[in-house]
């Protein structure tokens, strides 16, 4: 608008003139030099006000705009690029970010990115100090506040609280052992899971083994106490020890002798009919061991229920033995001229597998009690497993002969869940080869178990290997390897 027009419209607004009638006097007034100059100043100031308004409202818009930043995690390299063009921020003149350094981040001006290795978790407040095009170079800086989320390092969240040593059923949080069993060696490690360490509860897993020097048999048992039953850590302990004790002391001597005689006879004759008889005898003997284990726990449970009734207050439990719910797997093996005779039993979700000498075949020795939605497992403490029609007890035993083997594995679900994920993978030799390669050091931590017979530290190595990190898998872990 020209200055003289401005004067005319001012007079019109003040109702001094009307738009269509302009007298000579008014015309001259509107073109007066001094008036023109004053009007020009007004117009200039108006333009300045408008420009200021635009700048300020633009700054407000920028302050309200949300800048999408990724979330970071403590200890994990972080980089989040700010695309100023996509955000329509090309008029922004960046000066600096505040609040980044304290959390281990910095701004990379070349790549327009916030990056670094976060050191502090939380919802952090970040400030962006900026000017926009059109603002004076010495004008006060504008501050845009926004937040950046840094997650804690999940590993740092787990507490390691010692279990109560005064508890009557206390057991070591961590145990490992290495031993010679005939011509083979055995290494076993069992450790409390992080979920138990986090709340100071006990290891529920257990194991026991024995090499019988006089007969050449080896027995190895592994058990997993059910987490939701308060005395299961004692159940798993009794179950494993009972199996060893049964073959040590209670195994029917006649049966034992008959069995051994028949085996020696088979060793010479290789008679298949005889082998079948042996198999039946073997399974009978194993069956007795499982009944013995069940009864040992039951006896202990019934006695404790009378002595300390206050321990038995779980409405879900129907009888004292339920408080001791534990899975159980065990193997008995011995070397003959015809090879290794391997007998197994399993109830629950813990696998036993044997890998042949040249590692081309892996045989899963037992089927697993697993349900569609977890919790489908069975326990040695359940009387119904002994007379189940859908899962006959007889199918829980296995009897096989192998010329030799490289590894015989027994493990709890604390190992099987993270390493094999699903049951179907236990049938695949390649998955077992991956597992062996993992044990040999092919893992993120470069943690290695050296299976050389001369290695006497192997139990420590195995225990260390078992510290592997697997999100969502923090159960107790027990792994027995005969090699």
């Amino acid at each position: 608008m020209s200055a003289s027009n401005y004067i005319l419209s001012l007079l019109e607004n003040k109702k001094i003139i009307s738009a269509d009638i302009v007298s000579d006097f008014i015309k001259a007034f509107s073109e007066d030099k001094e008036n023109i100059s004053l009007a020009e100043q007004i117009i200039q100031n108006q333009n300045l006000i408008m420009m200021n308004f635009k700048l300020k409202s633009r700054i407000e818009d920028i302050k309200r705009l949300s800048i999408p930043l990724k979330n970071g995690t403590v200890g994990k390299d972080f980089k989040s690029v700010i695309n100023y063009d996509d955000l329509n921020l090309s008029d922004l003149i960046f000066t600096e970010f505040r609040g980044l350094e304290e959390i281990g981040l910095k701004y990379n001006e070349i790549e327009d990115s916030i990056e670094g290795n976060p050191i502090q978790s939380g919802d952090h407040n970040i400030q962006l100090l900026f000017r926009i095009d059109g603002e004076n170079e010495d004008s006060e800086l504008n501050i845009k506040e926004f937040s950046i989320i840094i997650n804690p390092d999940p590993k740092s969240l787990w507490k390691d609280i010692e279990s109560d040593k005064n508890d009557p059923f206390w057991k070591d949080d961590n145990v490992s052992t290495v031993d010679i069993v005939g011509e083979k060696k055995i290494v076993i490690a069992s450790k409390r899971g992080r979920s138990h360490a986090n709340v100071g509860s006990f290891r529920d897993d257990d194991f026991a083994y024995k090499y019988f020097n006089n007969s050449g048999w080896t027995v190895v048992a592994v058990s997993d106490g059910a987490g939701s039953y308060s005395l299961s850590r004692k159940g798993s302990e009794i179950a494993c020890n009972a199996v060893v004790e049964y073959f040590e002391k209670h195994s029917d001597i006649d049966l034992h002798k008959d069995f051994e005689d028949k085996l020696l006879e088979f060793d010479m004759s290789r008679d298949e009919v005889l082998l079948n008889e042996i198999q039946i005898l073997a399974k009978k003997n194993l069956y007795k061991a499982t009944v013995f284990a069940h009864n040992e726990i039951k006896e202990f449970a019934d006695k404790l229920a009378i002595e300390k009734p206050e321990l038995f207050n779980n409405p879900k439990a129907k009888s004292p033995i339920d408080y001791f719910h534990s899975t159980l797997i065990f193997t008995l093996f011995k070397k003959f001229d015809f090879g290794y005779l391997v007998l197994t039993f399993g109830v629950g979700d813990c696998p036993i597998a044997i890998v042949n000498k040249d590692k081309t075949i892996t045989s899963l020795m037992n089927w697993l009690d697993v349900g569609e939605f977890g919790g489908g497992t069975r326990f040695i403490t359940q009387p119904e497993i002994f007379h189940s029609e859908s899962n006959p007890m007889a199918t829980r035993f296995n009897f096989q002969i192998f010329p030799d083997f490289s590894y015989l594995f027994l493990m709890t679900d604390g190992i099987y869940d993270p390493k094999f994920v699903v049951e179907a993978n236990l049938e695949k030799n390649e998955k077992w080869q991956e597992f062996i390669s993992d044990l040999e050091g092919n893992n993120d931590d470069k943690s290695k178990v050296n299976f050389n017979y001369a290695n006497e530290e192997i139990d420590i190595e195995l225990s260390k290997w078992m510290d592997f990190w697997s999100p969502g898998n923090h159960d107790d872990r027990t792994l027995a390897i005969i090699y």
Binding site: K70, N71, T73, S121, G122, D123, I149, N151, P152, P154, L157, W158, R194, S195, N198, A226, G227, S228, E372, F373, G374, G375, D413, V421, V422, E423, A424, P471, G472, N473, H474, D475
Partner: protein, 212 residues
């Protein structure tokens, strides 16, 4: 990795305007930052937000806690709870993995519904869809006097109510949701079992009344 999916269905109808909607927003923020510090939750819990007003939409797809960022929500319109249940059903179909012989599926989803009014749409058809899905525990919260706890009772046996839809009560509800998600994630990691009923969740605060 087996996810523990958690769906939050939030009423954003006009009656929630002001204090209630701000309290809900804040409740979700506090919930997420608390759960981020729970070692079991941060590894297993995945959160999704479905909002409903005159229509319903999933504003945040099922997202692992470490990547979760809350979005702004506004209160406006009516109460399309039925449509929200349909959106939830579709989300479960596409986001929750089923168990196959080759993979372990996710845990059954936990669902928390919060509303302060009566459903204004055909909620029974939404409910029919929802009932075809396998879910874990479903909790519905009737916030304030105008909520229709009868409709919520039809959706789930686990209905709780807040006497008033104010900042403190809504905050307490979210604290309880937070603790419940924490307990559920511990349970699935620890014992491989899911939470079966309200009695296995932490006791609700005094502000929450269980509707029977």
């Amino acid at each position: 990795m087996r996810k523990l999916p958690v769906y939050l269905l939030l009423d954003c109808s006009g009656s929630m305007m002001g204090e209630p909607i701000e309290a809900v927003k804040n409740g979700v923020q506090v919930m997420v930052s608390t759960l981020r510090n729970n070692p079991q939750a941060i590894e297993t819990a995945f959160i999704s937000i479905i909002t409903f007003d005159s229509s319903a939409r999933q504003i945040i797809p099922l997202t692992e806690l470490s990547n979760f960022q809350m979005k702004d929500i506004q209160a406006t319109g009516t109460t399309s709870l039925g449509e929200a249940l349909k959106v939830l059903s579709n989300s479960i179909d596409t986001e929750v993995a089923k168990t196959t012989p080759e993979t372990k599926g996710d845990w059954k989803p936990l669902v928390f519904i919060m509303t302060d009014g009566m459903p204004t749409d055909d909620w029974k058809s939404g409910l029919a869809e929802f009932q075809k899905r396998k879910t874990g525990i479903v909790v519905a919260c009737a916030a304030g006097n105008n909520a229709d706890s009868e409709a919520l009772k039809a959706i789930t046996d686990n209905v709780v109510s807040l006497a008033t839809a104010d900042t403190q009560s809504i905050g307490k509800f979210f604290q309880w949701v937070t603790a419940s998600i924490g307990v559920s994630s511990t349970k699935v990691e620890d014992s491989g079992k899911e939470v079966g009923g309200l009695n296995e969740l932490p006791p609700p605060p005094s502000e929450l009344n269980i509707v029977v």
